[in-house]
Symmetry: C2
Subunit: 651 residues, 2 copies
């Protein structure tokens, strides 16, 4: 573990600090003492049995510093127990991935001696987070010193003090040495190479590593499309009736890459030990409130909130709100078309260079407005979903994703659909697509990485200046590093990153046959995205807790839904192409019938493909069944040995 | 257990015979002795530890009787161990269903004293079947006396001697008392009541009970449709432009009933303890052959057959064969249409009563030909799928089902699709549908139940006459009962029964809007089907081994595929109705666009519904998660008690 950082334990022994707990500066003394005691108590007594120490800054010069910052760590023994608790999968001696147990820890590949370097720092931090989260109230009726902060047996202490504002934040510490190595191999060398996915996973956990793996996979998958697209653009092939080939290619492409991704992600998840990891029982999310009752599953006391009330909120408030927003978005779209018409009129009256530039202005404005609307809606959706009071974080996330996806999809693509299928103006479609794509990409990159990075640097410089006064050495003392990291912004998860990819995937799969350069643009964007995302993870944000993940979750579904829509859209575009229309000179009806029939056939093939291609590669399937078989056999053997005399009811 | 039947054990104690093993009459003595020894051997020595006794007939008058008939039973203790082996779920004291273990057998609800009546006879027979199937060769190189019948360590003995013809048949015995009770409550009383599903499950196992549950559910689900259909028929509403309402109803109906069935079947499977039962590791099917190698999962020696060879057989032989059959079926259809035209011509020339009757003749002939083709194809498909040499019974079944489904669907519905969408003759469609439906129903009922029943009765009478000579008592002696049952036909599983329901579902969901009486006919058919199926299970066939099942398996998928096709068909029928056409007097194109748009919307809603409606009812979901939670907690507690000192690597 990190050598530079260590704190004196109360017993005089040192421990490596892993996680930082920042309590509100005005927290009452008795509450702090109670919390520390509960964290330090033995597990038999219902405590978390972790090591916790107050951060003692080297210089107390600035009074505005929060004094209530605590460092949490644990003994190696406690961490190993915790690893078993959370069901961590590690590589076994025979090369398979198995659930770690303390009892046969010596059969795991990387377990040497005391197991010091067996768990990565991210894993240790994840374990500590889990142990803190499952630290439950016993007999306390409320948080000591705060009679209004009710507790009941079984309530997670950390979640309660977090939702009540006593716990300001909890975050894992960065590991400077490792971070330097990672960032060097990740984005500091400008050579063509794969991302160091295993290192990313080692440092940030599986959830984030899977995002970067997906980003990279998506980029590579786009390359054939980009290659086909370039000559189309260069030799001006797109006279709107050669794009049927491209549309056909699109159809196959978007089905195949999603299927292959499932297999790749299963391979990665197996290698990282998350594929067959069992999900732990999900606790209510921190913000969930209701009347105290008994959970029918656990039998524990916890707040209950009647489902019908939630349904009422969803159907009477959220759904109408979303519909209203969709209507608004439609309204804005109409304004855009009016502006477009107005500008075109000006240009037609008296075409100069400036009116030519003016032609692009409405699209740019519209693209900016779309981004702003998306941003505002995002907050509204989060607020609403929170208000719906979902019990589990996962259902909360699903409802949020659904709300945001529907709106963003509509907002970004409605105008394109309108141009393509109502106005049937392929020239305008191409121009809009290009403007939308380029503007939103530039905006995104700025908003997402460079702006925060710049803010961060400004802040850091100030902090550095202060620090350098006291210390000439380059390595910061622990207290300063903690302060620096505490000031960094919090990474809110991969949601926005996936959303961006989702929209890009939409632009490419839905309409790229009209504007073949789209794929090229998206590839370029993805490459810069990789660097900017890497930069923001390493430099801008606090280190996030690693999140075990076996797949990209609900996003797989979202991308697949998009690919179904892509089949429909591409078939319609093919049907509208003059080339195809010329085959049916006498009757539109027949043309439409054939297009519809073809589309149904393609959809059927798509579903059959999804069904036929196994989601998990054969070799991993075999490894998984071998493990299962072995455990079944072991169980049988044990029973036969144990039980040979047990039931005495011989007839 | 059955009182009338018991055999003397070698030790002088009696045991209840459960399963009959019939070996070939000319089997060599040493092979028989070896087999019996292996069955009787203790489990520690690799035997099955079952009781087995030769059937000694009361009178050896008829020499043609096979002398090599053996009865297999087991001690209650052995059966309880076996129940644990196969992972039987039984009701626990707290009302939940739990995996039975001998260690806490006294906590199961119906376990009293020695556990005599704890397991039903069907369960005991299933356990014995499982134990016989997993009786494996140890050091034997071949079956004693038959140097050509190779064995290798780990090979299932029973499967080998079965595939080599030494084992003629293996079947469980009927239980006369219970059967009488069951058949009385099932089909002997002509009153409106639900089927005794729990009793059926108790006697025949979960697989068959689920079939009857589905049959009953399907019938009830049809009743609203039948009720709506009757006035349509009576008041002659079907002037072909009022059927849009009916088609719309169809759409909703077929989606909703399939979703609800999933929930109902989950409830039943939970009550019967199969819902969360783990599937045991699947052995290669008896007919599977290949070069000896090592299974990568189990590490056991077993025949291996390269996958690419199987793929070659499938794609180069089976697929072309199926396509050829489809072409043939199309050809027959064309002949039918020619006949139809020819008959119509005769009728038009000189219409009399007899030419009126003649009008129905082609349809009837076609229906009969379809049934015959289905029957022949069924055998061909079975042969081909066998030849494809699938390793597992489940993949074998899937390939067989797929082949048969595609052909039967095509064979039964091609003419209807042709009439509906190419000829667009709704009158003919209605007539064809009626003839097909009625003819195939009548044929099916005769072929499936009454013919075998009649044959069975003739055979039984002969046997009875012989028996009555020796015994005036009504209860047959064991040896005669065994002989009687051995002569009964073997029930080949629920395949054909589900297939019939599948086709009926197709007739109703695809076209019933044109012929609303279809639902009424299918309801009538299903009611008689219930009785005839019950009759055939109780009287015609050997008792089948009970098959644990948690759902209807691949049939759920097949029915869902049909319901998707139904959406497409019904939308097209709606679009073709004069009523809808009159809304778009000026342009066909617009009409088609609207229909296609509506169809896409409906399909989208359908998929969303499938996704949103939970497959398992909430209350069962809660029970399942409670069990899971409890076992997790128990594991945690045990680890904490056991392991508190285990890893001594305290830092």
């Amino acid at each position: 573990m990190q050598k530079g950082l260590s704190v004196s334990d109360s017993d005089g022994s040192t421990f490596a600090p892993l996680v930082v707990l920042e309590l509100a500066p005005n927290t009452k003394e008795e509450a702090v003492e109670w919390l520390l005691k509960r964290i330090r108590d033995k597990q038999q007594d219902g405590g978390a049995e972790l090591l916790v120490e107050k951060l003692s800054p080297e210089d107390q010069s600035t009074e505005k510093d929060n004094p209530n910052v605590y460092m949490v760590g644990a003994s190696m023994r406690r961490l190993l127990f915790g690893a078993e608790d959370v069901g961590l999968f590690k590589e076994f001696n025979d090369g398979t991935m198995r659930s770690f147990t303390c009892a046969n820890r010596h059969n795991f590949k990387e377990f040497q001696g005391d197991g010091d370097s067996f768990l990565s720092m991210a894993e240790c931090q994840y374990i500590i987070k889990h142990e803190l989260d499952t630290l439950r109230a016993k007999g306390e009726a409320h948080v000591p010193g705060y009679p209004k902060m009710k507790l009941y047996p079984g309530k997670s202490v950390i979640r309660r003090i977090q939702s009540k504002g006593i716990l300001v934040q909890i975050f894992p510490l960065h590991e400077n040495e490792e971070l330097k190595r990672l960032s060097f191999s990740w984005y500091k060398q400008f050579k063509l190479s794969f991302q160091p996915l295993d290192d990313i996973r080692h440092y940030f956990g599986e959830g984030l590593a899977l995002y970067f793996a997906f980003l990279e996979y998506f980029t590579f998958a786009l390359i054939p499309m980009a290659i086909i697209g370039i000559p189309y653009y260069l030799f001006d092939w797109e006279d709107y009736d050669k794009y049927t080939v491209f549309a056909g290619f699109n159809l196959v492409w978007c089905t195949v890459i999603l299927e292959l991704w499932k297999r790749l992600s299963a391979s990665l998840a197996y290698r990282w030990g998350t594929l067959s990891r069992k999900k732990a029982f999900e606790e209510p999310r921190p913000g969930f409130h209701g009347i105290l009752g008994f959970n029918p599953v656990t039998g524990r006391e916890e707040p209950l909130y009647p489902n019908f009330k939630r349904q009422l909120r969803i159907y009477l408030v959220s759904v109408p709100f979303v519909l209203l927003c969709l209507y608004l978005s439609l309204y804005v779209m109409m304004i855009y078309f009016e502006m477009e018409g107005w500008v075109l009129m000006i240009h037609d009256e008296e075409p100069t260079f400036w009116t030519g530039v003016l032609l692009f202005i409405p699209s740019v404005i519209y693209a900016v407005v779309i981004e702003i609307m998306n941003l505002i809606y995002r907050y509204a959706a989060e607020y609403l979903t929170n208000w719906e009071n979902h019990r589990l974080e996962s259902t909360f996330q699903n409802h949020l994703v659904l709300k945001v996806l529907v709106f963003n999809f509509f907002n970004c693509f409605a105008s394109l659909f309108y141009i393509a299928f109502v106005m049937q103006d392929m020239g305008l479609l191409r121009q809009s697509l290009a403007t939308l794509l380029i503007t939103s990409q530039i905006l995104n990159q700025i908003m997402e990485a460079f702006l925060p990075y710049w803010l961060q640097r400004r802040r850091n410089k100030k902090a550095h200046r202060r620090v350098i006064k006291t210390l000439a050495d380059k390595e910061l003392p622990l207290s300063d590093q903690v302060k620096l990291e505490a000031d960094m912004s919090t990474y809110l998860g991969t949601f926005d990153d996936y959303l961006e990819l989702f929209l890009l995937f939409g632009y490419v799969s839905l309409f790229s046959c009209v504007y073949p350069l789209a794929a090229v643009l998206v590839v370029l964007n993805n490459v810069t995205e990789m660097y900017s995302d890497a930069l923001k993870m390493c430099k801008v944000f606090k280190r996030p807790f690693s999140e075990p993940a076996a797949d990209v979750g609900v996003w797989q579904l979202a991308f697949e839904a998009m690919s179904v829509i892509a089949v429909v859209t591409n078939c319609a575009l093919i049907g509208m192409s003059p080339q195809v229309k010329s085959y049916f000179p006498e009757s539109d009806t027949q043309l439409i019938m054939w297009v519809v029939a073809g589309e149904h056939l393609l959809l059927a093939v798509k579903f059959i493909l999804t069904f036929v291609i196994p989601d998990i590669p054969k070799n991993i399937q075999i490894k998984l069944s071998r493990l299962e078989f072995e455990s079944l056999e072991a169980l049988k053997k044990r029973k036969m040995l144990e039980g040979s005399g047990t039931p005495k009811t011989d007839k």
